[in-house]
């Protein structure tokens, strides 16, 4: 072994482990979706109070939900695959929550990230497909060009073209708490699990 070897080895090891720890938020995440969820849980941030319009043509925004827990998903109504699953999940979620005390403080909101194609009729059609009725379950589109970008950024939704005229997007259920903050990101798992997590959030 030569002089200077151990210090140099120690320095490279430290640098290497440090860099990987930095990149993985302390060895906790390896995907950007994981990092996003961790950041949301650590520091809940207010949901942007942009204008939205629902399937009945009514305007609303997140500030109108104060005191209530909102479960949000992002969809586009032409979506052939994932959004249908998300729709089914929300439908099942309503059934799983039933009429519990906390369940009455929970609303559902599906936001379209394709407002160019998703007019009121399309939103209505999507809602009818899954038995969604406002205001319990709104199918909504953002109004104005800045609104969509602000929502996607705040919720950490990445939408990319699927190469076939549609979109690919991360599928998650976002929980906005009673104070209007994005506080939790859940996997669109089985509805009973989602319901349990939502009820815990809405519990007083």
């Amino acid at each position: 072994m030569s002089r200077g070897f151990l210090p140099l080895l120690a320095a490279t090891l430290l640098l290497g482990v440090g860099a990987v720890a930095w990149g993985t938020e302390g060895f906790r995440v390896v995907t950007s979706e994981g990092a996003r969820r961790l950041a949301v849980e650590r520091t809940p941030a207010p949901a942007p109070d942009v204008a939205l319009v629902d399937q009945d043509g009514n305007s609303f925004s997140f500030s109108g939900y104060r005191g209530r827990t909102v479960l949000v998903d992002f969809v586009y109504t032409r979506c052939p695959t994932l959004c249908g699953v998300l729709g089914d999940d929300f439908h099942g979620l309503l059934a799983a929550m039933g009429e519990k005390e906390s369940a009455r403080r929970i609303d559902l909101l599906s936001i379209s990230f394709d407002p160019d194609n998703d007019d009121r009729e399309a939103l209505k059609h999507y809602g009818d497909r899954y038995g969604a009725t406002a205001p319990r379950w709104r199918i909504a589109a953002p109004v104005g060009s800045g609104a969509l970008a602000a929502l996607l950024k705040a919720f950490g939704v990445v939408v990319i073209p699927d190469g076939m005229g549609g979109f690919v997007h991360n599928s998650a259920v976002y929980v906005v708490d009673a104070r209007g903050r994005l506080a939790l990101v859940l996997d669109p798992d089985t509805p009973p699990q989602l319901a349990a997590a939502a009820l815990r959030m809405a519990a007083p």
Binding site: T31, S32, A35
Partner: protein
């Protein structure tokens, strides 16, 4: 002066275009851009070699610190989160452009000569199956690992990694067991000489010593 600025601008545009084109696709990003950047470092190492300070040559005993540095720095850019960050954030991408040549290619190029032959074989023998394993993971993952890449791109990247591993593995096998064509001819000639009356006895140990 004006012309130089124009050339610099042209180079910048070309580099930016290469960045956009290579990062649009997961396979191009992982299997073309990342190795190319590390390759720049390898070329850089041949220039750096004559400038290497004495203390570094001594401290980089058997090339181990250099190998450790390259292993960590390259692993970092294999993480899906870093790939996503590089696409989303130009600052992170710039760090990738700097760290792959300087912290992966260059140390590997400088340290490689200091490594014992068996050590080099160890590096190859670990590196190749790991490429295949990552490819397998990409194929097996039911979800997208990168927010910026589609599932079909992920599958193509997975298959490409597996094919690269198989090709490198075959080349490595040939190199280790048979040797490259001219080398094998030499050995063949040695065996032939052994069979001649009065020829020098040929044995594997002699071949190994070469």
């Amino acid at each position: 002066m004006k012309r130089r600025a124009l050339i610099a601008f042209g180079v910048w545009v070309a580099l930016w275009l290469a960045r956009v084109l290579l990062e649009r696709d997961m396979t191009l990003h992982m299997i073309v851009q990342l190795p190319l950047l590390a390759g720049i470092g390898l070329v850089f190492a041949t220039i750096l070699r004559s400038w290497e300070p004495r203390w570094l040559i001594e401290a980089d005993w058997l090339g181990i610190p250099g190998l450790v540095l390259a292993a960590f720095a390259s692993s970092l850019w294999m993480l899906p989160i870093m790939l996503d960050d590089a696409v989303a954030n130009p600052v992170i991408d710039f760090m990738k452009f700097l760290s792959l040549p300087l912290l992966v290619g260059a140390p590997l190029g400088l340290s490689w000569r200091r490594m014992p032959p068996l050590g080099r074989a160890f590096v190859w023998a670990n590196f190749i199956p790991k490429i295949g394993a990552i490819g397998g993971l990409y194929l097996a993952a039911p979800e997208r690992l990168c927010a910026y890449y589609r599932l079909d791109q992920q599958a193509i990247a997975g298959w490409t990694l597996i094919i690269v591993a198989i090709v490198l593995g075959l080349l490595g096998f040939i190199a280790a067991f048979i040797g490259w064509p001219d080398q094998s001819r030499e050995e063949f000639a040695a065996v032939e000489r052994q069979n001649e009356p009065g020829g020098a006895p040929y044995c594997a140990a002699a071949a190994l010593r070469r």
